[in-house]
Symmetry: C2
Subunit: 589 residues, 2 copies
């Protein structure tokens, strides 16, 4: 690294005891200063670290007086000798030394910043977003940006080594009338027409496979104009990959390898081989297609165990093909009335909508208490407990509803219990494949099959027979990678065969005209020898967030937007002249 | 590299004599096939190469018959044994071997493609653009995309090693009312407001320096909605870099190092150290700020040499502070009347607009002929020749006009002569810095100073004194890197000091309100301790084009747009529903 410039001979994170006696030049920001009368100490900061500067009143009073006037965040250049510190700071890599300053220059003054540049800053999120350039001075944020860059580097290292070619696809692409989440870009050269920003390079990467590029990757900016519920951004980054002449196993091996490589390189963690969990099992046992498996706690089906009781609620559920199921909250038998009530409120909250929550407490003393003990003998309650794997000291929580809802609610309840009971080891990593995702899902309103992922996913070879008779039963060659309860990758083997593609379009009920308009150039491309191919895309922001221990993807995006899609720092989006709109052929409504 | 998949054990570029006898599986496209009666040969192609498959009528008639039916661009998987070829092909890395095919599968059929997949294809540009996915199957295009990826890899290798952090800046940024070349993106969440796509990350990278990120880079997509004269694209790729605590020398050394690294890695060429040519000299001697120095041929000022003649045209020019200057076209003394006329037409063409062209031919026999020999004695013509460095056999070409035009026209004429006379060695590389660019340039209409590069360029320290008295004389700390007559990098040291920035805004005549609206958040950021910083951006597409020997940047962009900004393959831009427009708050004019 070339670092001996006029402005600095070393960074603020570089000097050690072995440099003692060396004359150095440092540049950086005044992080903090302390004036002890005879001595003034200044912590000089850059992104590499902090080095202590010392000014001595006795040896140079003028210089020391000048140093006392340095304000927070002033940019200075200091020249001096490296010396051993009498009062060493083991917290800092540079903590054994200090600089006895001989001269310094103020490169730039600073007004008093609106918050401190510490990890534990006094600035709230809105203020920090407005002054993001100052927020990014906080060591934590600098480390996050560097982590992000290091992850990208490890990703590229692996993919380059595996013969992937990095290829840039365009950002100004075709808008489709149905692309309701497309960001539109009016064309000036062809007024009245619009480009769209890509929601993903899906079609283009498949065309690159048609073109024979074999192994492609791109760190791709993607754009989606949707309500920013939850932790979403209108623009986000994908590690987008595609391979030709592969089956699912090949893709899994390749990207399992990549994920392990990144963990090893960036965190020095050796991940064990990834489990491959069928989608149906994920739903059955964890009520989620992205379960958090850093803790156990499965969903246990209880219809058979509870059948034939006097409990009308259960009998109704059984008779209407609903599901009674429970989880075992280990060690929670002593939960109070209030705690049980809180859990009941949790499952009944509108976004979950369960009718209620049934509990069985298995006391340490062998006692059994339940909200349904008038319908079940202690022996039968024990049987239910056994079915859930509960023993003395445990609490069984039961939901009875339509199957889908029971599983979903219990899936969320197990997460809630894990949070309450601290079941999750913060240093644990759970990374595994969810495979055999459904090809179609029922439209929420009409019940008709709509594509679950996108209409180019290949059918699971064992399920081809059900394509006509029972499309909703058909599994796709489609998979996700789940990390600590987050989907961080989604992918599939694609259809490369014209006839199979036509069949899917037919099931989806696309008219000839709709097919042509939405996918015309792609269908056309596939006439000229499309190879078997498949791939995936990582949600890179989320992966970085998990690795960085951040709470939202905003923590790892240099200049994010808020929940209104607004960049608080730049104050974007903004107003535009009518003249400027006229040039691109539009006007405000 | 993991390559032993179900579909292939090797690529089509991999097998050698040392593999003879091995059973292999290859997959690829049928590039060409020849049927010699007893034998059928199929060239199987992937992006790694071509391998010959052999089918023998004698040993397996059915298989051979089936192979005969394979059409061009069919995708097949073939299993067989590697064998030595009797008829070796030295042109192919795999040319020593062939595969004795034992079985094959058609993975996908192909319709007859609209052009051949050869470097010398029969498809015209429009057709190839429409079927870009097929165009990209041509070996030349595949090599270009791989070259592009290799260059990126070398760039990152160097920058990572030098401590640069790759940081992504947003693509949905602030639109400014003056940003006439901005692509606009209407906001759905805030109807009536607009984002803009970035013309470059200039301001954001400077804010990253304010945030202390020190050394930043990004392979950045940039967008400019302008007429696509010449070789431009509405979206293009920059290698965008910025450094803190640097002076010009530091930036030059860093990116000279990077350029050399890329040449070494990708082409195994060791470039010599780059010359640093002051802008004024580039204009004076070559009439261009991006001269092609693969050949010499300087512009020679002749006012002093031709003064005091009877030639009214020259005297007028001298009296009105114009410039008479000439170039020496070495070895062209035998140019015919017709050739001289062509050159005269060239300089008089509307885009150049010279009044005419004067010549002096210095014959091999010592004779001197000139279009102005009635005004100058042979001795004085010889003096002019001497001033231009002309000897026997040479042709001096003279233009007399306003200084700027004389230099521009002669600059273009020297390029034209180089083309006509093949002065340029196609394997030569000329890479050098043009430094000390002007800070301002006169507005073409008003003559008032406008910024030459952007309003954040720092002043040359020697010229600060002229800021008020003669701003157009002031040089900036601004530089370009010129490669074979193309500007491939542009950069500067930026102003980090509030007062200097205010001074520049004042000279540019910006009102307080205009300043606030256009640069408000940036000016604000600079109050909090901006470090000295500078950087540059490479025009990556052009650099790749030069390295690939392409003729336009479209040759090295996977999915380019045509001169109307249209993607012929996707048929973008396209029409959009009124409903969709309504959602984002606009309507067509």
């Amino acid at each position: 690294m070339q670092s001996n410039t006029y402005y600095r001979s070393h960074t603020c994170g570089e000097l050690r005891m072995s440099d003692a006696g060396v004359e150095v030049t440092l540049s950086g920001w005044v992080h903090r200063s302390r004036d002890l009368g005879g001595m003034t100490f200044v912590d000089l900061r850059d992104r590499h670290g902090i080095t202590q500067l010392v000014f001595n009143m006795e040896s140079n009073a003028d210089l020391c007086m000048a140093a006392r006037k340095l304000g927070r965040e002033f940019v200075i250049q200091a020249i001096g000798k490296v010396a051993e510190r009498s009062n060493k700071n083991a917290q800092l890599p540079t903590g054994d030394v200090e600089i006895l300053v001989e001269s310094f220059t103020i490169l730039n003054a600073s007004e008093l910043p609106p918050f401190t540049m510490d990890d534990e800053t006094d600035g709230g999120e809105e203020l920090r977003m407005r002054y993001r350039y100052l927020d990014l001075r906080r060591p934590q944020m600098q480390q996050r940006l560097m982590l992000r860059a290091n992850m990208l580097k490890a990703v590229r290292e692996y993919l380059d080594n595996e013969g992937f070619v990095e290829i840039e696809t365009p950002n100004l692409i075709k808008s489709t009338p149905e692309g309701a989440r497309d960001f539109l870009v009016p064309s000036r050269l062809q007024p009245g027409l619009f480009y769209a920003l890509p929601q993903s390079p899906q079609i283009l990467k498949q065309l690159l496979m048609v073109s024979g590029m074999d192994r492609y990757y791109q760190i791709a900016k993607c754009f989606r104009d949707e309500d920013l519920r939850g932790d979403r951004q209108p623009e986000f980054t994908q590690i987008d990959c595609e391979m030709s002449f592969v089956r699912q196993e090949d893709v899994w091996n390749m990207f399992e390898g990549m994920t392990k490589h990144v963990f090893k390189k960036v965190k020095n963690i050796e991940l064990p081989d990834f489990k491959r969990l069928p989608y149906r099992e994920a739903i059955k046992y964890y009520g989620s297609d992205k379960p958090d498996l850093r803790f156990d706690c499965k969903i246990n089906d209880l219809n058979d165990v509870v059948a034939g009781s006097e409990f009308g609620v259960f009998n109704n559920i059984i008779n209407t093909n609903g599901l009674i199921a429970g989880i075992n909250a280990k060690g929670c038998s002593e939960y109070s009335r209030k705690q049980i009530d809180e859990l009941t409120e949790f499952v009944k909250a509108p976004q979950r909508g369960a009718g209620g929550l049934i509990y069985i407490k298995f006391g340490q003393d062998g006692s059994i208490k339940s909200s349904m003990d008038k319908f079940f003998t202690p022996e039968r309650l024990q049987e239910i407990g056994n079915a859930c794997g509960a023993g003395k000291g445990d609490l069984v929580l039961i939901v009875a509803d339509k199957e889908k809802k029971t599983r979903k609610v219990l899936g969320e309840l197990r997460l809630e219990m894990a949070k309450r009971e601290n079941w999750i080891d913060k240093n644990a990593w759970s990374v595994f494949w969810v495979v055999d995702m459904p090809l179609f899902e029922p439209d929420e309103e009409t019940g008709e099959p709509i594509f679950a992922h996108h209409p180019f996913c290949a059918t699971h070879p064992d399920d081809v027979a059900y394509m006509d008779s029972d499309p909703l039963r058909v599994r796709a060659q489609s998979y996700d990678l789940v990390m600590n309860g987050n989907e961080i990758l989604s992918g599939s083997i694609r259809i490369h065969n014209k006839e199979q593609q036509e069949k899917v379009f037919k099931i989806l009920g696309f008219s000839e005209e709709e097919k042509e308009r939405r996918f015309g150039f792609m269908v056309n491309a596939f006439k000229y020898g499309a190879p078997p191919h498949g791939g995936c895309a990582f949600g890179f922001d989320r992966w970085v967030m998990l690795m960085a221990g951040g709470e939202t993807i905003r923590d790892v995006i240099p200049f994010p937007k808020n929940n209104n899609g607004r960049d608080m720092m730049m104050d974007a989006p903004g107003e535009v002249d009518n003249d400027q709109l006229k040039i691109v052929g539009v006007q405000l409504l």
